[in-house]
Amino acid sequence: MTDSDRHIAARAADAYLQLHELGKRYGEVPAVDAVSLDIRRGEIFCLLGASGSGKTTLLRLLAGFETPDTGRVLLDDEDITAVPPYRRPLNMMFQSYALFPHLSVERNVAFGLEQEQLTRGEIMRRVGEILEVVRMGALARRKPHQLSGGQRQRVALARALVKRPKLLLLDEPLAALDRKLREHTQFELLNIQQELGVTFVVVTHDQEEAMTLATRIGVMDHGRIVQVGTPREIYQQPLTRFVAGFIGSVNLLEGRVLERQADRAQLHCDELPVPLLVPWPAGAGAPGATGAAAAGVSAAGVGAALWVALRPEQLRLSRARPEQPYNWAQGVIREVAYRGDLSVYLVRLPGGRELRATLANSGAGSAAVELTRDVPVYLCWEADSAVVGSD
């Protein structure tokens, strides 16, 4: 048993799909760079990244359309790295859906089953069943060009699911749908996934989609997985500046460490009139220290440069000067965007930096009335709402 085998065996406890040091280069550029990842049975795992981050290449490696330069893929403890796509026990739903234009809906869905040793009756029964699940039974004899985008999406899903795969790969499953249909389809996907208990790996560039669908998200950047976690973890505890900026909107401030306390630290920020008080992770290895970024922070001494991320919904706006001696800023409202349930405020600080704050619009006579353009305001926040990092 090599070291790498031992490593895989050690991680195998609850992993269903395991990627081990998977790498793929195009020329000199690594598209996927030594990615190791465990995906659990029955989960919806979203690979989230901008275009060119390597997420689609990673999906194609899983489907078998690309051969990795390094590393291994294990599905249910079986090494499938060298298995050709037509023998992998997984199926893929393509971004373009890739429906066969010359075959009817029924024949498209039956295609996969016809490659197995099944009787005609069995094939027809299973095709009928799955078309009912995606509510396409009535349109079984249509050709793909006679369907709407949403209907095609459902046929593509049925075609991939009818094979009863262990794992379903979905490449931007909702990208081709309009906004309203997308939301509806998201929940439908969740229902079907739960009903059939299939493990989903979803590639998407849309963070909202990832947040809604995923049990866990892997954020990709430059061919690497930079953070894996539940949507809540990714949003609330981003490990790197990139993740903090990529997921949701965020205010990023830079500061230097002034003073360290037990579980807090004071930072100096040029743009704020008062010090920044931020939560301080315990020493590396101690509970609560999560990942590389936290370890980097806890090692930082006085004078070290750190980034501080503040979510817009955690900033409070007031006309009166806050009483706390830390964590506030003064500025002028530059822009107010009314979004129905909430309003977005852009506040310009004296140094020129703009901070974004969102306030829920509750009731008719709220404080929002006096918060209009060009009004000077104070922004303040709790120490615990900030996230710090050192990269």
Binding site: F65, P84, P85, Y86, N91, A98, F100, G112, K163
Partner: protein
């Protein structure tokens, strides 16, 4: 005059569509429809040793009467003399055989070009079209040099001791096949390439993902989707091959004539224009059938696309 140009422009804009479709229409009626009608007319007249070598269709029989002499003898002759039917069947057989060979050779070539790296595709297409830079006649003559008893191929086989006597290849049906397949291969490859090049590669990935091995994916996806390309290539080779005249004259057997050669013989050697015309008309009607079929197929394709 300042208003002249815009007015002309306006006219062009309004009549543009009619003008654009009118030019080929005029061309076709002038050089296809009218000659066709003349041939049709001749096919119904009686042969004569005169100039022109056929009797007029319209004859004045009295001061005020004009008679049409529809002479059906030519068509009856075609049916009664086995020479015509025989050479017609031979032509259809050779044309069908060489079309099939072209398809079997041309499909893999077209597929390879369509799937080649885009930078190499143009080079490969050039290689397909390159023979057109040389005269057709010259290329067919070159085959005589290759195929004849003391030609290149026999010489090579003899010197390799694979054969002890030269193979008789020239003036055989085999040589006609070689000539037709060689000459018409580009007309098979090009429409097939045009079709295959448009295929979406993810369809094959989808087929593989659903469990189809490459060969099955080809049979179930690529082949059916290339139907229109196959149809176009087959017709482009088959139709001219049936009436092919030069290749069988130069390479073919002397005792077995293809229908194009028979038409030419009737015209120039027998000076029997009416029979030759009747033959040409029958041939045209025969070849019209597959074209009509193609049109119907195309229309169905369009309706579903």
């Amino acid at each position: 005059m300042t208003g002249g140009r815009p007015r002309l422009w306006e006219l062009l804009e309004r009549r543009g569509r009619a003008l654009v479709s009118g030019i080929p229409l005029g061309w076709l009626s002038l050089f296809f429809l009218i000659p066709f009608l003349i041939v049709l007319k001749i096919s119904f007249s009686e042969a004569r040793l005169a100039m022109p070598p056929y009797a007029p269709l319209l004859v004045r029989t009295g001061a005020h009467t004009l008679a049409i002499h529809m002479h059906l003898e030519n068509y009856r002759l075609l049916a009664s003399d086995p020479l015509y039917l025989d050479s017609l069947l031979y032509s259809l057989r050779v044309a069908a055989g060489s079309t099939l060979c072209c398809l079997l050779l041309g499909y893999p070539m077209a597929l390879a070009i369509a799937r080649a790296h885009p930078a190499r595709r143009h080079l490969l297409l050039m290689a397909i079209i390159l023979p057109f830079w040389t005269s057709f006649l010259l290329r067919v003559y070159a085959w005589i040099g290759l195929l004849q008893d003391n030609g290149v191929i026999n010489h090579l086989l003899l010197s390799l001791h694979l054969i002890h006597q030269p193979l008789v290849m020239v003036n055989t049906t085999f040589a006609v096949y070689v000539g037709i397949v060689y000459s018409y291969l580009p007309f098979m490859v090009l429409p097939l390439y045009a079709n295959l090049e448009k295929h979406d590669a993810t369809l094959l990935e989808a087929a593989a993902d659903l469990g189809a091995r490459p060969w099955r994916a080809f049979c179930r996806i690529t082949l059916p989707l290339s139907g229109p390309g196959i149809m176009a290539g087959v017709l482009l080779v088959f139709i001219p091959a049936v009436g092919e005249f030069v290749i069988p004259s130069l390479l073919g057997p002397a005792n077995q004539l293809m229908i194009g050669r028979v038409v030419s013989n009737e015209f120039f050697e027998n000076r029997d224009w009416p029979t030759a015309s009747a033959l040409a008309i029958v041939l045209l009607l025969l070849l019209l059938a597959p074209i009509v079929l193609l049109q119907r197929y195309r229309r169905r394709e369009l309706a579903s696309a």
